[in-house]
Symmetry: C2
C-alpha cells in the first residue's frame, strides 16, 4: 500500500483514522462513498467523525492517490488511483454499474484532441443508459 509511504514521505501524519480510510478504499473493489468508508471507520473507531473521512479523501485526491467519480446520484464515490482507471456504465433502470475498460474510450479521446484540441480527462467518466438485462426485459419502468 503505497498510500502510506506517500503520506509519510510528504510529511503527513499516519493517523489511525487515515490508515483505516485507506484500508477501506483498498478493500472496496470498486467505488465507495464517504458514508460507506465512514461506516467501516466508525465500527472500529467509535469516536471517529465523517468530517475526518472527507478531509482524508480531500488529501488523497490532492496527492492523486484516489480519484473521484460522480455517478449522478447525489453522492460522489472514490477509487484507489493505483488500481487503474476504468469507466462506468450506469443503468438508470436497475442501477447496475458495469466497468468499462479505459481503452474503450481511446477513439473518443483522440477525436476530441484532434478535432477540438480538448484534452479529455476520462478518469472519472460515468455513462448513463440502460443495461442489456433491462433492455431485454424491455418496457417502460
Amino acid at each position: 500500500m503505497s498510500c502510506h509511504k506517500v503520506l509519510q514521505e510528504k510529511g503527513y501524519r499516519l493517523t489511525p483514522q487515515r490508515m483505516l480510510v485507506i484500508e477501506a478504499l483498498h478493500r472496496a473493489d470498486g467505488h465507495i462513498s464517504a458514508e460507506e468508508i465512514y461506516e467501516q471507520l466508525h465500527s472500529r473507531y467509535p469516536y471517529s467523525n465523517i468530517s475526518t473521512v472527507y478531509r482524508t479523501l480531500e488529501l488523497l485526491k490532492e496527492l492523486n492517490l484516489v480519484t473521484e467519480t460522480d455517478f449522478g446520484d447525489g453522492r460522489v464515490r472514490y477509487h484507489v488511483a493505483e488500481k487503474g482507471h476504468h469507466h462506468h456504465l450506469v443503468c438508470h433502470r436497475c442501477g447496475k454499474i458495469t466497468d468499462l475498460d479505459e481503452s474503450a474510450l481511446y477513439p473518443l479521446k483522440d477525436t476530441l484532441l484532434h478535432d477540438y484540441g480538448f484534452e479529455a480527462d476520462l478518469r472519472h467518466l460515468a455513462i448513463p443508459g440502460e443495461c442489456s438485462e433491462c433492455r431485454r426485459k424491455g418496457g417502460q419502468s
Copy 2:
C-alpha cells in the same frame, strides 16, 4: 414554443410562472440552472418562489420538454429538448463549456451497444478535461 401547447394538451395549467420558466429556458442559449431561471422569474414576478421553478422543471422533464445535465459542479443545468442534443466539454481549469455535436459520440454509442449491449443515453453527457486555450497556456494551475 411548443412547450405551451404540450402543457395545455396534457391538461396542465398555463400559469404565468410556468410561462416565465419556459421563456427563460428558451432565452438561454445553452444550459441554465434553476437559480438562474429563478432570478429571471423573480425579477418579473417578485412573489414567485424557487420551489415553483423546481416543480416546473420536474414537470417539463417528465414531459421530455427539457433535459438535465450535471456538469459536476454541484448543480444541475437545464436545456430545452427541442433544441437538439449536444454534449459538453467542460474545462476544469477555466470552466469554459464547449458544445460538441451529438455525432461525435456515435462511434462510442455503437461500441457500447455492440460490445456491452448497453444502450447509452448520451443526451446529458459532460466530459471533463482541459480546453485548447488552457493547454496552450500550459502549466499547472
